[in-house]
Assembly symmetry: C2
Amino acid sequence: MLSDGLAAVIVTLMLVPQALAYALLAGLPPEVGLYASMIPLVVYALFGTSATLAVGPVAVASLMTASALGGVAVTGSPEYVGAALILATLSGLILFAMGVLRLGFIANFLSHPVISGFVTASGILIAGSQLGHILGIQGGGHNLIEMGANLISEFGSSNLITFAIGAGTLLYLFLCRQYLKNALIGLGLAPRGADILAKAAPVSAVIVTTAAAWHFHLGGAGVNLVGQVPSGLPEIRLPSMDPSIWATLAPAAVLISLVGFVESVSVAQTLAAKRRQRIDPNSELIAMGLANIGSGVSGGSPVSGGFSRSVVNFEAGARTPLAGMFTAVGIALATLSLTGILAFLPKATLAATIMIAVSTLIDVKAIGRTFHYSKADFAAMLATIVLTLIQGVEAGILVGVGLSIGIYLYRTSRPHSAIVGRVPGTEHFRNVERHTVETDEKSVVLRVDESLYFANARYLEETVMALTSQQPKMKNLVLACQAVNAIDASALESLEAINGRLKAMDIRLHMCEVKGPVMDGLRRTHFCEELTGQVFLSTYDAWKTLCLS
Amino acid sequence: MLSDGLAAVIVTLMLVPQALAYALLAGLPPEVGLYASMIPLVVYALFGTSATLAVGPVAVASLMTASALGGVAVTGSPEYVGAALILATLSGLILFAMGVLRLGFIANFLSHPVISGFVTASGILIAGSQLGHILGIQGGGHNLIEMGANLISEFGSSNLITFAIGAGTLLYLFLCRQYLKNALIGLGLAPRGADILAKAAPVSAVIVTTAAAWHFHLGGAGVNLVGQVPSGLPEIRLPSMDPSIWATLAPAAVLISLVGFVESVSVAQTLAAKRRQRIDPNSELIAMGLANIGSGVSGGSPVSGGFSRSVVNFEAGARTPLAGMFTAVGIALATLSLTGILAFLPKATLAATIMIAVSTLIDVKAIGRTFHYSKADFAAMLATIVLTLIQGVEAGILVGVGLSIGIYLYRTSRPHSAIVGRVPGTEHFRNVERHTVETDEKSVVLRVDESLYFANARYLEETVMALTSQQPKMKNLVLACQAVNAIDASALESLEAINGRLKAMDIRLHMCEVKGPVMDGLRRTHFCEELTGQVFLSTYDAWKTLCLS
C-alpha cells in the first residue's frame, strides 16, 4: 500500500498537465480533462483486471474526440462540451455491451499493422494540431491539409512571446528526454528512479512557465493562458438525451471504443506478462465501459489506458488497484487547490508537452518491418496512414480495417495449391516444385492450401479443370485436405460439380487427410455416396492403394 | 445453321410475351422490353463465349430495376424510362470494367446460399407484385409489407373480368406445366419436342386472351390492356448524362450487374458442361457489359442470361451464336408487325405468365438442404430471404453478403485446433480425441486448423497459454502447421510473443509441416533465430527427435 501510494503521487504529478493538455487537444475546457481523471480511475480500480493500467484521457482518443465533436458543434461552445459527455457515455455503453455479450473478439479485426499505422498517423496529426498553440495562433483542422491551410493563413498573426515559451519548452523537454535520465544516473540515482524523474520533466516546465506568466503578466501580452478553471469536484449529472446527437456520435463512439480498448488491453497485457498475471479481455471491456460511463456522467471526456502513464505507474511500484484510487484522490486535491495557479499556465507549454509525448507514438521502424515481411499488410498500413493524414482519423481507420479484411478475403479466394509427391522412403508428401519427390502420372495428389468456401469454390473448379488438361494420363485425382479446415455449402456444390465432371472424363475423385469436423459435415450429405473414389485416412494410404498396388 | 434458325423461332415465340411481361414487372412501357431483346442479343452473339445463353430481360433483374427506379422517379413517367436506360448503361459499364480489370472473382462473394435465398425471395416478391394485375387494381410495392397494404386498401376496386382472365390464364398455364408435356408424349411426340411445346403454352394464352379482348372490347369494360406499342425499331441514342441520377443508381447497378452475372455464368456453365465446352468468366463479363450498354443506348432495360429461355434455346438445337442473332431479327419483325395486335393483350395475361414463370425460382428444397448441411450457411440464406421479403431486394442481398462474409470471418477468428498423437506403427498423426494414438506428456504436438492472421492471432495466444496450464509437464510444444496457409504480420507478432512467454516458462517452441510459402516469409524475419526450438519438415521428424531419442 505504501508503494501504491508513492506510485499514485508520481502518476498524479504526471497526470495533471496531461489532463489539461489532452483537454486542449480535444478542444475542451481544462476541467473536462481533470474530471476525466477522477471518477473513471475509481471505477476502473473497482472493476478492472489490471492492477497497473492507468486510465484517463489519452492522446489518440482526444484526437478522435475532437474529430467526432467537430461534426456536431462549434469548438468550445456548451453544446461541444455536452457532446463530449455524450461521447464518453456512449463509448462506455458500447464497451460495456461488448463485454456483456462477449464481443471482445471484434477488436481483433483491428489488425496490428492498421493500429500501428493509425497510431503513427495520429501522432503526426496531434503534433501538427499543436503547432498553432506554439505559434500563438488558432490553427486547428482534422487532417494535415486543413491544418496546413490554417497555419499558412494565420501565420502572420503569430505571437513571439508565445513562440518563445512553446519552442523553449519543446527544446527543454526534448533535451530532458534525450539526456536527463543518464545525467541523473551519472549523479548517482538508481536507473528506475532516474527514469521516473526524467518522465516528470513536464512538471518542471509547467511550474517555470506558469510562474513566468504570472510574474510578467504575459496574459496581457497576448500569450494564451489556460485561464480560470472552476475549482471544485465534478457534479454527477446525466448527459443530454437528444437522440439525434447520440445517433450522430455513434459511429465515432464505436471507433473510439475499439481503438481505446485495443490499446488498453495491449498495455495491460504487456505489463501483466511481466508479473505473470492474466488479463481477461471481456472483463476489461466491462471495466473500461463503466469507467467511460463514469467519465460521461461526471463531466469528463472518453478515457482509456495510457501507455506511458501505466509504465510509470508500474515502474513506480503500483501493485494493486489502490494506486488508481489514490491517483484519483490526488487529482481531486489538485483540482481543489491548484486551479488558481493553473490559470496562468500558458497553452504553449501544454502544446509542447503533447508534442513530446506523442513523438513516441510515431513508429517508423514498424513501417519498415511490415514492408519487409508482407506487402499486403504494408498496403493496409500505408492506406491507414495516408488516409488518416489527409482525410482524418475515422476515414483512416475504416479504410484500414476494410482493406485488411478485403486483402485477407482476396488471398483466401485464390488459394495456393500444389501437386505433391512422396518424399522417398517416407510416408511424407511435399510439393513437387520444391522437393525431390516420387509421383505417378496416373494418380495425381493435389493439396489444396485453404478452407473451401464460397469465395474460392469456383476457383477450385477452375484449378481442377486446368489440371485435367495438363495431366492427360490422370485416372485418379486425390484431393489432400490437411489444410481444408471447413467446406461450406457453396464449396460442397462445387465439389459435387467437380466429381460429376471428372466422372464424365473417366477420372475418379478421391479425398484424403479429411479432418474430423469436415468429415462429419460431409457425412450428413449424399456426397460420400456420389463420390466416384474413396476417402483415405492419410495421403500415404491413398498412395499405397492407388500407386503401389 | 438450320437448327440455329429453328431454335431462334421457338425462342422468339417465347420471348415476345416475356419481354412484354418483364417490362410490366419493371414498371416500364412494353416496348422497352422488346428493345432490350434486340441489340443486346446481337452484341452478346458477337462477344459472348456461350453459344446457347439466351440474353434479354429476366425476372429478377426486372424486379431489381423496379426497386432501383422507384427511388428516382414516378413509375411510368418519362424520367422513369430515362433512368432505366441509364441503369442498363451503367450496369454495362460496370460489367465491362470488371471484365477488363479481371475482377470477376468479386462475384464469388455472392455465396450459393445467398444467391439461392435471394432468387427464392425474389420469386415470391415478383409473384406478389403481379397479384394487382390479376385483380385489375394498381397494387405494387417493393416488399411484401407494402404489397399487402396496397392490395388490402385497393381490393374493393377489383375488376371481375380482369380477374377471370388472370385467374383463368393462371389455371391454364398451371395445368399445361403439370400435364401438357406428358399428354403430348402420350399423343406420340418426342419428349424434347413435347417439352418445348409445353413451354410455349403462354403463347397460346396470349393469342386467346388478346383475341377475346379485341372481340369483346374488354378495354372498355375496365380491363387493363397493354395498349399502343410504338411500331418500329429502337433509335440509338445516348442516355441522359445527369450525374446525380447516375450516382443515385450506381449502387443498384452494381447489385444488378453482380446478380445478373452470377446467374448468367451459372446457366452458361451448366449448358456448356453438357457439350464439354468452356466458359471464360472474364470474357463473359465483357460480353454482358457490352450487351447492357447496347440495351441502354437502344432504349432497353438491364439484361442478363435467362435460365428457362437458354434451356429452350439449347434443347431446340442452338449450336452457334447465330441462334441469338436470328432471335433478335425475330423480335424486330414482331415489333414491326405485331404491335397493333399486342395492344389488345390484357395485362392480367402477362401477370399470369410471370407468376407461372417465377414459380420455378422458388426452391424450397435448397433451403432444407442448406439447413441440413450448415447452420451458418442457413443463417445467411434465411437472413437474405427474410430481408428481401420485408425490406426489398437491395437490403436482402447486401445483408446476405455481409452476413456470409461475417460468418466466415468469425469462424476463422476462432480456429479449431487439436492435440495430435501418432497413429501406432505409422508416420501419421491424428486428433487425440478422435483416434487412438500415442502421445508424450513432455512433448505436445498442437495442430492449428487455420491460417494465422490478425483476427485469430490473439486467440492462438490464448489457446497456447491455456495449454501450458493443462499440460504442466510440457517441455516442448510443436505447432503442426499443415493447415496454416499464411501467417500475416499480426500473427507473426503473436508467434514472437508466444515464443517469448514459453521461453520464460522453460518450454521450447518448435514448428513442423510449415509450407514453402509460409517458411519463405518467416525466413525474411528474425523469428527463426529467436525461436527456442527447431523447424521440422514433418510431424514424424519432430516426434523422432523429441520423443524417440
